[in-house]
Symmetry: D2
Subunit: 336 residues, 4 copies
């Protein structure tokens, strides 16, 4: 067995902890070397997953450790771009949770750092590693639906995710819609040329402007194909991610499943459960994206989901936010 | 048994023939008295369904027959408003297929005639008579979902429905989207205040301007609730009508079903059929809407789906067409 | 239009009333001429469905009316065989609800009368007229599953159907299991050579011997193919009829469906309804079997589901009852 | 972290390799210390999963290693009982794949050794660790269905599993049916008092007597409740394990799922995949049963699925085989 890739985790919240678990337990080629989080408990908990892993409250300790070859960034969204730049300067290969940045200018600065230091970057669009999405893309890429004409994407997060303030500045587009934007690009292989968005806020009273927890978007692709996206942070029934893509020969649907294969029949009808937690829907995809990253680092090849895809989705999320502010459809230039 | 209501059919195409069948065979209280269609064969075929029914190539014969109490209008869309006016003058109660008219001005003239002659008018929004839509509305009206926040409506017609020229002037909005507009109003009990639409044409080459066979719409309701509609006339796999409506306590989904309760498992996977023909999905609803109309005529009461609902949906379809032309969201006044 | 076939209904309970409705309203070629039932109200109610239909408390009035060409027998099971004989003597073509008789000897006497008077007989195995069963049979007959090896059939009637005394003498086999026996013969095209049955009673206290409301059966076909049947009269959740048939190339499944295409998602999971009433599952099949009968009478041809099939299913039901009594598998001779 | 439990694998075929993977990668508390298999390649492959694990072609090396605290037996069925006795003598705690033995006498000898040496024994009935089965049992145990009356269990293995000779001596009962027997006991909490079985062979020509690849069984429980089991080794469409359990208040169904959440709609209908490999259906359950075993070893407590359950299922499988030989139902004594 080759020497494992030593990885440092930056940001040990819920998502970071899951990545740490994959690195520590599931991926033989990786070694969780260190975990950093301003919350000491969080950093300690993540480091405890692997024998010998160190912890710190600052990510500088990770960046300055020459034995660490790659970092996983799962810190708050607003810190991603800056940490990418620092990690690139430190010569670390980078897996960064989406989004790349909070706006396109920041994203471009981060990507420039990645380019100039020649390091690998992968962005956390885990749906691309889900077998259902991959199967759907194969069907579409093989032309089994004909040229794509229409798509409908849905993401619903459980209700408790919506807290006053969390949705300010229409953050739903950059936090949630960005997954739908990326997966529609991934599935159809098409680029978007126009974005229209509308949104509302139904949460508890909030003093924030532009607080949003419910959004509807129409995309127009370069071919005239159309797509809608509806996103909500207020689903009582669980985590609900679906997409359907249609062409003149048929449609393909990636649906939401029961959590367990049980149905209960009684005098009131038929009842079954629903996936509630995003890890239950995409746990396998999170593990597979990390395996892909580690393998790319080990073999020195460029990850499948890198800066260009991250930037393209970011540009669309920015356009959605702008469409909401300006109340009109926004034209989007094709990616360079 | 009371004297049956004698009904004249105006327009004996596919939809008219189905209504004739319901009147002749299924509804005891009704009697198909006559059928008119410029196509003599069509008129004869419909009249042949009931013993003693007469046929003609012009609807004047029906309007001038004092023994006929009510008419069913299933002629081409562009003739609806004019025939409603004539039938109202002749004192006939009217069931008219949607849409009421091709634009709002025409619709208002027809409704004025209906009002001034004091006759009953019902419009063919058959989804309101489908048990699944009715059940969904009950759940929503009972507050089981909480205040509605988000809805997603889909209508897909089989591919052959799309012929060059049929979709000119963005007719998809008035022919197809109008069903989604009405059913969203019916289900949510809310009024729309803004409409944005985008559309494309993927059919065979067409010389027509504004030819459209694929559309995407965002609605904003008075409460801030949002809805998307995606419509296509190009479904290879059949007739596909779905809607889901969500509030903070849950969502309700009216789905498309298998045609027959058969699943075939083989080495390639699992296979089942799909509803192909709109009659197979809504046959019961078409019969029930006609029963409702006949009962309203017999009892002298106003039908549940009358001019106000028809006008409201028409106004939204008009706004969608205008949004497409002008490339911006269109504000819609609340119904009077 | 040809002269309609005048039909007399004998037995106007729930099932008879449904047949009367089909004859009166749905089948143009038939005319409900008369209805007989010892319960005068029931006879009147059925006759009221068709203008001019007469009623009586005795079926002799029907048999002696020369204008009546055919009868539908939906009287209690114990009277079927005798009325068939009388109707055959009177020269009427006969549609008889299953079972033909309460035992094989009685059945043979009835079939002898049918043969000697040269009249048409159809038996009420309506599943053969259900599109799902027909589709399944086509798939099997086309060899798409390969030679059949294994089948699983299920019938569950709603709980209230089980009343003390109703299940005496293991009547479940002749009343309910007979449908599964017939549909397995219909689907597979194979004959059964051995039957084993076990059964229990879970209803309220009953003084009857051999009271049964729950049964399990294994069939062995001539080819070595095996089938199980489980039947219950105690389903809280509705009417549940399913079958799956398997060969080396796959399996086909005829399933139970939702009543309405609605799903409700809430914090407890996902909920939908279940077919509750047998008419809701097989209403179309009941109408189609009656259309077939009337057409056979009109054209003078032998119905598809006649005496031989009725006798074969009866022989298997008898064998199941005997297996239960004797506690061992019973060999069954192949039909002549 | 406590000292991990060192485990030796005996039998490194497909199932053994899976257990090895769980021990090496997924269960922190366990350490795969050694792997033995007469096939050197198999032994090497399993040992390679864990750094430092040794391999051998004989299990004596494992039993004589005092640092090894527990063994996992996944060798051929006919060797289980003997190896259990040897491992018990060596003082190792034992996880043994089902079945315990090839007949009841052998099983009793193995259980006596386990008892006299005071070691822990867990048997590989992994369905008990599947969340769907566990949820179904909870519903039943909570009385939500009322007292159980009827159950239907199904196991279908993919076609290639059936090779000439594999099914001799009606081995299907001890290899496959035993899972259904155990899961019906687990779900209902009831004991079986009578077993009837029938079976056939549809595979390629075989010289073996009692070669069986398709079986149907009826169980009668102590309460009069009934169950059917149908098992086949010839499913073209994949791995298909289902059970439904019914009482007077409803039924609960554990079903087979799609492998991926994708549906493809085209002009031929709707298509989706089916679970094909048993690991894809029960991978989580295999991991969870092994976690349970390791935890029981670590804490010195008795595993949930031990000798008594293994013996009870074995007695029922033996009765099924005897019923097939003797052509009659076999009474089974209640477990001591």
């Amino acid at each position: 067995m080759e020497e494992p890739i030593r990885v440092g985790l930056i940001g040990a919240g819920q998502m970071g902890l899951w990545h740490a678990r994959c690195l520590a337990h599931d991926i033989q080629q990786a070694e969780l070397a260190a975990a950093a989080d301003p919350d000491e408990d969080a950093a300690r908990r993540a480091a405890a997953l692997a024998p010998g892993a160190r912890w710190s409250t600052s990510h500088e300790a990770i960046l300055s450790d020459p034995s660490i070859r790659a970092v996983v960034i799962a810190s708050p969204d607003g810190t991603h771009a800056r940490i990418i730049e620092e990690a690139a300067q430190a010569g670390k290969d980078i897996f960064c949770e989406k989004p790349l940045a909070t706006d396109l200018a920041e994203a471009d600065a981060a990507l420039a750092a990645v380019a100039s230091h020649g390091i690998k970057l992968q962005v956390g669009f885990q749906r691309r590693f889900d077998p259902a999405y991959q199967r759907a893309r194969e069907v579409i890429a093989a032309g089994e639906l004909g040229p794509i004409e229409l798509a409908v994407a849905t993401t619903r997060d459980p209700l408790e995710a919506g807290r006053p303030g969390a949705g300010k500045n229409a953050a739903i587009f950059i936090q949630t819609t960005i997954h739908d934007l990326d997966s529609l690009r991934y599935l159809t292989g098409l680029e978007v040329v126009q974005v229209y968005a509308n949104a509302s806020y139904f949460g508890e009273a909030s003093a924030e402007e532009d607080e949003v927890d419910t959004a509807a978007v129409i995309l127009r692709f370069q071919t005239g194909a159309l797509a809608t996206i509806t996103d909500s942070w207020r689903a009582a029934y669980g985590y609900d991610v679906q997409v359907e893509v249609m062409g003149p020969k048929g449609k393909i649907q990636v649906g939401s499943d029961r959590q367990t294969a049980v149905r209960h029949f009684d005098a009131q009808g038929v009842h079954h459960d629903h996936v509630y937690w995003y890890i239950d829907r995409f746990g396998q995809a999170y593990r597979r994206e990390m395996e892909h990253f580690i393998e790319c680092v080990a073999r020195g090849v460029t990850p499948d989901v890198g800066g260009a895809d991250a930037r393209a989705a970011q540009a669309l999320a920015d356009a959605a936010a702008r469409s909401l502010r300006e109340g009109r459809p926004i034209d989007v230039p094709l990616p360079a």
